[in-house]
């Protein structure tokens, strides 16, 4: 009679689709929160309303992606539990979206770089082999096209505006450029999902993103920054390695839910 061999418990296999949903949801949750910080502070009333509207769309998209993430995870966490009761290391957003607002030009440049990434990736994701994911992407894409029109037209106005607006938006572009390679890095999760047709092949989308960005930057009389090296420190967001800024953002976003857990209003 053979003794049953002791098999060590295998680590939980990585759940690629859950990771994908957290990345999609967290990008939008964090950027939506950043934009909401402008509410009551934007340079003109119309922009105050516009940034709050974009924030609302992004929070709505985050809700849908994180709700699905919670269901897939199967641990009883809904979108609110995921938003308010995870720590910074559990967030999967890219580093670009957690960068503080800076001035209006900085916010617009950050938004433009993200919005172009959003239309390109959501368009591809709307052809996912997962019908539920394709549906959410197709819906979000309509909103993203509206957003990129807003941020893109502001890039043109600021770049081709006054000396000061040109200087400020160029500075923003130069500072933010180092965070853009992360948007199209295919780590193990992204690569496996692409093979299965669940998510798009990110590196293959980069030329389309770059060509749209270059076109707007040229027309805005701005200068495209030089390619940056793929420093691992500038692409840790997808695996939970964030800068100090995310912790501060989460502290503000999560404090009410954590102080009064289960509160309803």
């Amino acid at each position: 009679m053979t003794q049953p061999s002791v098999v060590p418990a295998l680590p939980e296999p990585p759940h690629d689709e859950l990771e994908l949903l957290l990345r999609l949801g967290d990008d939008r949750l964090v950027l939506g929160h950043r934009l909401s910080e402008w509410c009551g502070h934007a340079p003109i009333l119309e922009e105050d309303i516009a940034l709050a509207n974009v924030a609302l769309d992004l929070l709505g998209q985050a809700t849908l992606f994180l709700r699905r993430a919670g269901r897939l995870e199967g641990k009883g966490r809904d979108e609110d539990a995921l938003a308010y009761f995870r720590e910074a290391v559990e967030f999967r957003n890219c580093l670009l979206v957690e960068q503080p607002n800076g001035d209006f030009a900085f916010t617009i440049a950050r938004q433009f770089l993200f919005d172009v990434h959003a239309v390109v990736t959501l368009d591809a994701l709307s052809r996912s082999t997962r019908p539920e994911l394709a549906a959410l992407a197709a819906k979000a894409l309509k909103e993203a096209k509206y957003h990129v029109r807003h941020s893109g037209e502001w890039m043109l106005k600021l770049g081709d505006g006054t000396d000061e607006s040109h200087r400020r938006v160029q500075r923003a572009l130069d500072e933010l450029w180092r965070f853009t390679p992360e948007l199209f890095v295919a780590d193990g999760v992204a690569a496996r999902l692409a093979v299965q047709g669940i998510a798009p092949d990110l590196p293959a989308l980069r030329p389309q993103w770059a060509s749209i960005v270059r076109d707007v930057v040229d027309r805005a009389t701005l200068t495209l920054p030089h390619e940056v090296s793929h420093s691992p420190h500038l692409r840790g967001g997808r695996s939970g390695m964030h800068g100090e800024h995310l912790g501060h953002l989460l502290a503000e976003m999560q404090i009410v839910a954590r102080t009064h857990p289960g509160a309803k209003w």
Binding site: E46, I49, L56, L58, A138, L141, Y146, V148, R149
Partner: protein, 170 residues
């Protein structure tokens, strides 16, 4: 059998009730006219399922709309109401029929223009000049693509010097 309701409502009767449920942010249009209600079914024991689609992912009115639908049907004697949310096909303002567009205009909101472009990034378009819902002039400008609710933009009429809202084409 004892629990079966005396009469099982017809699908048409349910649709007629939903015609009276108005959108909370655009109260001249019903949830059917806006295209939020996609389908209705009545099962054999009288339970009603209403299939809805949200206009915008973050539309704060969608919960109110679901509650309004449920309570209107409860008031009409339907005991069991299920709301089912679908995201595909994604909602478009193109679903708003001409009759409803006329109601929007009469309410002071310029109706949405048809969604024509399939371009991903469409910049530097010729400025849009939506028709003023008050004086019918096209001597207008879009002041902001974003307005008081997710579905409206802010415009200005140079002719009658009035601000007005436009339903966004999406």
């Amino acid at each position: 059998m004892s629990g079966a309701p005396a009469t099982r409502p017809t699908r048409e009767a349910i649709l007629a009730i939903l015609d009276t449920v108005m959108d909370p942010e655009v109260p001249v249009l019903s949830v059917r006219e806006l295209g939020i209600v996609r389908d209705v079914s009545v099962d054999h024991d009288g339970a009603v399922t209403v299939v809805v689609t949200p206009t915008y992912s973050g539309c704060p009115a969608i919960r109110v709309i679901e509650q309004d639908i449920t309570s209107a049907l409860h008031d009409a004697g339907v005991e069991e109401v299920r709301i089912q949310t679908v995201y595909s096909p994604a909602w478009t303002s193109d679903w708003i029929p001409d009759s409803a567009r006329a109601k929007l205009k009469a309410y002071g909101i310029a109706p949405p223009t048809p969604v024509a472009s399939t371009e991903l990034v469409q910049l530097l378009r010729a400025p849009r000049t939506p028709q003023c819902p008050y004086c019918d002039s096209h001597d207008t400008e879009v002041r902001s693509e974003f307005g008081s609710t997710a579905c409206k933009s802010i415009c200005w009429c140079r002719s009658c010097r009035q601000p007005f809202e436009e339903f966004k084409g999406i």
